[in-house]
């Protein structure tokens, strides 16, 4: 967002034209995912309310905030993984390339091969390294010759910065890898189906600092080909890795809200909302 838009926004907010302000704030030239008025509740309780945000193509957007503010819920809403949670009700719109992913014509199965996900704790399948990475390709019914399959697995492992470490033991069981390697394996597995967007839910929270650094590096190296959205409660990680940062915060009813969004540098040095400032300074959250 540039200086003019920022001033405009401020003026609109102060003059009471809040809706327009939201529109402006979320207007991206090249947004691959646009979220509009998203609210998610589990049975009667709202986890997040009225979230509107754009995720820019080929960028890394970080979602930060204290525990329990709904960051994971927001992330899961993007690839309809919330569908698998009993009692979860999604209101509002999530537009992927202009199509509302919650509309009846969209098949969540197809959606998830476009928007991949990596989880907090590494969850490789109990199979060989090769089979793990190949799983998505095999399941999606993509017919490949043995050589082509090998090539794609190799590509994915290279992108995930794991190839060098496992290239001689692709048949080894996934559980023989260390935690950091397993997580990179999960990233390779997700990349193998060639999604456009990669969602990561606190991917390094259970890893040591070296593995964390490796993963942060690889995310930066692949962002030119993917759009990456990463939830993290580690502000330093967000500052290191992301181009844009969204800040979420629970309101007085403990419902998660989006309180700040902008280029990472700005959010961290000149935050608009005083709660963001307090959070970054460590005074809250």
């Amino acid at each position: 967002m540039n200086e003019d838009t920022a001033m405009n926004t401020l003026e609109m907010v102060t003059s009471g034209r809040v809706e327009e302000a939201v529109e402006q704030r979320t207007a991206f030239d090249d947004a691959i995912i646009q979220v509009r008025g998203l609210s998610v509740r589990y049975n009667a309780r709202y986890a997040i309310k009225d979230i509107s945000i754009d995720f820019g193509r080929n960028q890394i957007t970080a979602i930060i905030g204290p525990s329990g503010c709904g960051k994971s819920t927001l992330l899961r809403s993007l690839n309809r993984m919330n569908d698998l949670v009993p009692g979860a009700v999604v209101e509002g719109k999530v537009l992927y390339r202009g199509i509302d992913v919650y509309s009846k014509e969209v098949d969540p199965v197809a959606l998830r091969s476009r928007i991949g996900m990596v989880f907090q704790r590494p969850n490789p399948f109990p199979m060989s390294i090769f089979d793990n990475v190949a799983f998505g390709l095999r399941v999606n019914g993509i017919k490949l010759s043995k050589d082509e399959l090998y090539r794609k697995v190799k590509e994915a492992l290279e992108k995930a910065a794991l190839w060098e470490e496992v290239k001689d033991r692709l048949d080894a069981h996934a559980y023989s890898l260390s935690g950091g390697q397993q997580q990179r394996l999960c990233i390779a597995r997700a990349l193998a189906v060639e999604p456009e967007v990669l969602l990561l839910d606190e991917p390094t929270v259970s890893l040591d600092p070296i593995s964390t650094a490796k993963i942060e590096e690889l995310l930066i190296s692949i962002k030119k080909d993917y759009t990456i959205i990463i939830v993290t409660h580690n502000m330093l990680q967000a500052a290191r890795v992301s181009d844009y940062t969204a800040v979420m915060m629970p309101d007085e009813n403990l419902v998660g809200r989006l309180i700040e969004f902008g280029p990472t540098k700005e959010v961290f040095t000149r935050p608009r909302d005083r709660r963001t400032e307090a959070y970054i300074a460590g005074r809250i959250g």
């Binding site: 992927y96 199509i99 992913v101 014509e105 969209v106 098949d107 959606l111 019914g141 456009e196 080909d225």
Partner: protein, 308 residues
């Protein structure tokens, strides 16, 4: 990287096929799940239909209040009370045996036994419920009655309710032991710690804190065991005798409801005769009682599960 158009999110041939396969499997598996429900419906209707034929010839009042059951004789009386009484008596004996023994075993397994001992004891106790009931019947008739019980009660009949009750008790002991053991193990640790910190000795913690806390689970296990005892056939058929009599003397032979059904089955009751129909009336009656007991038992279990 392959460029994918947004419309590809919608139908695509391979996605369509995969979705179709998923749908088919889902419906097929739903159909399979309905088998158990269908079975219940069949059970209910079959028993009710034949019972209705039975009750066109027999008054329900006589059935429920009569004290003579002579269906297999020439002079037919249709009072279920002798059979019901025998069933209740043998089941009561079984529970009277299984509850203290099973509870004691459960207390030992969950509170006193070390890990290795427990891993040895629990399967052994479970084995008791895996032994075919004909084997128990054999043991009751040829060993327990002549060698053991007659030593204590010399005028015990060769077929008697006591032996039947005792062997059924051994059969259902694992039910009480296992469920009570689960109930006691799920008592939260902080209750134990609180009792110890107040200066209680272990036996006081066990008897005054854990067992009362686990009580609903223990009671549930007893109710379910009682229901299981009522439905037991072979032990009663082998060791209890085919004598439908309303008696409270456990040294005598008496015929339970399942044992009567076994007797009719052993003989020849042609389709459509009153003897044949009596199978269904007795079966329905037995089912209603055990179903009621199981219902109560499951309710009690659920209340215990919710609490923890």
């Amino acid at each position: 990287m392959t460029e994918r158009s947004s419309t590809a999110l919608l139908a695509s041939k391979s996605i369509y096929r995969r979705r179709l396969i998923n749908r088919i499997v889902q419906s097929a598996f739903l159909f399979a799940s309905l088998v158990s429900t269908a079975a219940l419906v069949v059970i209910f209707f079959t028993l009710t239909a034949e019972s209705m034929s039975f009750f066109t010839n027999v008054s329900v009042i006589e059935f429920l209040t009569g004290t003579k059951w002579t269906v297999l004789f020439a002079d037919k009386h249709f009072g279920i009370l002798p059979l019901l009484n025998a069933t209740l008596i043998t089941s009561a004996i079984a529970v009277a045996f299984a509850t203290p023994v099973g509870l004691a075993a459960a207390i030992y397994m969950s509170e006193y036994a070390g890990k290795r001992a427990r891993n040895l004891i629990k399967p052994v106790v479970e084995t008791l419920s895996g032994i075919p009931t004909v084997v128990y019947g054999y043991f009751a008739l040829y060993f327990v009655t002549p060698q053991v019980l007659r030593g204590l009660i010399p005028d015990l009949g060769i077929h008697n309710a006591l032996a039947v009750g005792l062997m059924i008790g051994v059969l259902i002991l694992p039910i009480v032991a296992s469920l009570s053991d689960d109930a006691m193990r799920s008592v939260p640790e902080d209750l134990r710690l609180a009792a110890y910190s107040l200066g209680a000795r272990k036996y006081q913690v066990v008897l005054r804190v854990i067992v009362p806390a686990a009580l609903s689970g223990i009671v549930a296990s007893v109710i379910l065991a009682f229901a299981r005892a009522m439905g037991e056939t072979m032990i009663a058929a082998i060791a209890g005798g085919f004598r439908p009599i309303l008696s409270f003397d456990v040294r005598e032979a008496m015929q339970t409801m399942p044992s009567y059904i076994a007797q009719v089955a052993t003989g020849d009751a042609p389709h459509g005769t009153i003897e044949y129909q009596s199978l269904f009336a007795v079966g329905l009656f037995l089912l209603l009682i055990t179903a009621a007991l199981n219902f109560i038992g499951i309710r009690v279990v659920r209340r215990w599960e919710i609490r923890y």
